[in-house]
């Protein structure tokens, strides 16, 4: 399965912003299964501890985005 390069760049940028100062691509390529397991574990812990807050923030952000889009469309 070949990934869309633009989308892949966005994904890489997201992960890179979450792991500053770390050659995460080399790390993941060297230890693929372990990296996936670590990522899943971190996601699990975050979802368990702060899942509701994070989803609330994401919901607010999405609402603001939709609001901005609708306003921009109406102003035009």
């Amino acid at each position: 399965m070949t990934a869309d390069p633009e989308r892949q760049a966005i994904e890489d940028r997201i992960v890179g912003s979450l792991t500053p100062g770390l050659d995460w691509v080399a790390l993941v390529r060297a230890y693929p299964l372990a990296s996936v397991a670590v990522a899943a574990s971190v996601g699990f812990l975050i979802g368990r501890a702060r899942g509701r807050e994070i989803l609330g923030i994401l919901g607010d952000l999405a609402g603001e985005r939709v609001d901005e889009s609708v306003r921009g469309f109406l102003i035009r």
Binding site: S35, G43, G47
Partner: protein, 130 residues
């Protein structure tokens, strides 16, 4: 005189008859005991024969059951071995595919894993259960 003889004979005969009866009884008792002993012996022998036949049958049946169990065990072991080999091959292939995918798309793989863990953690959080 003849009457007296007869009387004596009767008395003697009566005494002889009594001893004869005793002898007869003793003989009859002995015969009865012997018959009973023979009958017991015959019964015991019959029972032993039956037991030996039964034990021979039981031995045969148990040996057949043992052979069948051995055969079943062998077949089950072979099938289990095949299943294990297949599962191992499938798992190896899956691990290989995952490795290839993660190496090709490291960012996406990490994000997908983190998102899956996040959803699982969100669904299994403590306040939701209570």
């Amino acid at each position: 005189m003849s009457n007296a003889r007869k009387k004596d004979g009767d008395e003697d005969g009566g005494g002889n008859v009594t001893s004869m009866d005793l002898a007869r009884e003793a003989v009859a008792e002995g015969v009865e005991k012997a018959r009973s002993a023979v009958s017991h012996g015959v019964d015991a022998a019959r029972e032993r024969m039956r037991d030996s036949r039964l034990s021979a049958r039981v031995k045969k049946a148990s040996s057949r059951a043992g052979e069948a169990a051995k055969e079943g065990y062998g077949v089950a072991r072979e099938k289990l071995g095949h299943g294990y080999e297949r599962a191992r091959k499938d798992l190896d292939q899956l691990v290989g595919d995952v490795n290839v995918y993660v190496r090709d798309n490291p960012g996406r793989a990490v994000l997908i894993a983190a998102a899956a863990g996040f959803v699982l953690g969100f669904l299994l959080r403590r306040d939701r259960r209570s």
